[in-house]
Amino acid sequence: MTTATQPTYSEVTRDVVASMGRPGRGYYILLGFVLFVLAAGGVAFLYQIRYGLGMAGYQPPVMWAVYITDFVFWVGIAHCGTLISAILYLFRSAWRTAVYRTAEAMTVFAVMTAGLFPVIHLGRLWYAYWLFPYPNQRQLWPNFKSPLLWDVFAISTYFTVSTVFLIVGLVPDVAAVRDKVTGFRGKIYKLFALNWRGTDSQWRHYTKAYLFLAALATPLVLSVHSVVSWDFAVSIVPGWHTTIFAPYFVAGAIYSGLAMVVTLLVPLRTTLGLERYVHEEHFDNLGKLLLLTGSIVGYAYLVEYFIAWYSGSPYERESFYFRAFGDYWWATWTMIICNAFLSQLLWFPKIRRSIPMMFVLSLFINLGMWFERYVIIVISLSHEYEPFAMDHYTPTWVDWTITAGSFAWFFTWFLLFARNFPTVSLTEVKEIIPMQRKTTAHK
């Protein structure tokens, strides 16, 4: 960040508070559209509950399909937020301050979206609570050996911790907004500010707590997608049963999440007038991270194919051959091109620093990462051990509507958040700007 563009503390406060001002008509139109899609998704969901899961396109042996794809996709999206807010925090990376709030909010909403899908895909979702270990008259407990139970613990922990993390980060910001806004909204912010006044004692505990939360969130974020990957890896399905899955999924998750951050930031910075805080520098850094994780993902693809060949297992070999050249070759190649090849464009600083390019690229990466999960789940299942039972899966309108509804659900929350809360962290942006001093030379 160059000193020339460095804003002052009061400018930061002013700009961020301004971003939360009265939104334009575009915002409401967008919100209306998103709510409409959400309603459509809700109707499709109710329809599916009424008549049964058969309304979705499941075609045995493909017993998991678009819903679990969506689940993994959204959990993956979530990961980038924690990466930026927690891991980069521990690394003291300065550029994160301007983007981490957006990423973290994205995390919480993405987990909220992801968490819907394990329920949506259940045959008897009204019994979903049986997965929790609560004392009951039946004297039964859940099966802790099941990866799905690990999921329950991992996802709920992740949701709790990342929500807490978001709220903790918000408190000083909300306090700052509280001091600028009057009227009804002011009262609301006052409530949310939790009596925050920035005293030395508060800051003293706050910084420590924040540090420890970040320290806890870091292994958590790595574990959550590992656990999600174990849903697949501990099974015996060819194409799932592989030890590379945990790092592969984590890298893929961060990759997709970063892409989603770019997708969100580009329109956000212009509509909310935050160009001064979120600029090429940030996209450059995000681009570098995308390049890193994209390369890891590409490497994982290579390793998968290599191991499929090297293992000597005919099932693995045929499964991977089928991926690349079978019925679903288009999905596989969409995934490989979008994820492994397009990310390599980011070697060029010009592309990294071009915001439109980054935006387009991020859309492709989002698409590619959705297809990665589709490929892993659907293709592996449709071509398993038993040749006589192989089959071909195609989704139905219910699958698509609920998927669209999940995007709408996510964006509903995000739009409401962006309107009412600082999407750029006041405090942390200020923190990297030196406070005014009387004598210029210090230390």
């Binding site: 609560y134 004392p135 009951n136 008259q137 039946r138 004297q139 039964l140």
Partner: protein, 194 residues
């Protein structure tokens, strides 16, 4: 791993049980005292009862278990004839079980009159089910009544004193399990669910 598992499990379990027992207190306590299986020799069922205050569903015919099983000490299995041989205890037929006696006895009783009417119209009496086990549970009466020698009253309560029968036990899974665990019987799921 295995040598680690034992002590670890033991240590953790002992400590963990303490905290979990608190939670488990929420469990229904299904402990039951022994239910008397016979009424006193001189038991006389009340001649009239306040039907409005009785528990249990209203039946099409006000059949008095306290009169039949209590006062006259008829064996349960006289009517529930299949309890020792079948999964189901059986419900008596009007002909010949009910009418076998009631062509002679109690003919002036209005409830018996309804029974006779039904019999002559070839209309079975549609009793309301009292003990409702979920349909996915297969309970073998004969294994309990004959095999294990459990009295009817253990589960059905003091039917011989009930003017109108009501569901005495919860018949919930935990209730079954309490008895099975206490008596070291199987807790395998497919013993009942299939």
């Amino acid at each position: 791993m295995p040598n680690l598992r034992g002590p670890l499990a033991l240590a953790i379990t002992t400590l963990g049980t303490g905290s979990l027992l608190v939670l488990s207190a929420c469990l229904n306590s299904n402990a039951q005292e022994a239910v008397p299986t016979r009424t006193a020799d001189n038991f006389v069922a009340p001649a009239t009862v306040d039907t409005a205050g009785l528990p249990g569903p209203v039946q099409p015919v006000f059949y008095r278990h306290d009169v039949h099983a209590g006062q006259y000490k008829m064996d349960c299995r006289y009517c529930h004839f299949a309890a020792e041989t079948s999964m189901h205890a059986g419900i008596p037929s009007i002909r010949p079980t009910c009418m076998g006696c009631h062509t002679v006895i109690g003919t002036d009783n209005p409830e018996v009159e309804r029974l006779r009417e039904a019999a002559s119209n070839d209309q079975p009496v549609e009793w309301v089910k009292v003990h409702r086990l979920p349909p996915f549970v297969h309970f073998p009466h004969m294994r309990h009544v004959k095999g294990a020698g459990i009295t009817c009253q253990t589960c059905h309560g003091p039917v011989q004193e009930m003017a109108r029968v009501y569901q005495y036990s919860s018949l919930k899974m935990g209730w079954c399990l309490d008895c099975h665990k206490k008596n070291k019987q199987t807790t395998d799921c497919t013993a009942c669910h299939y």
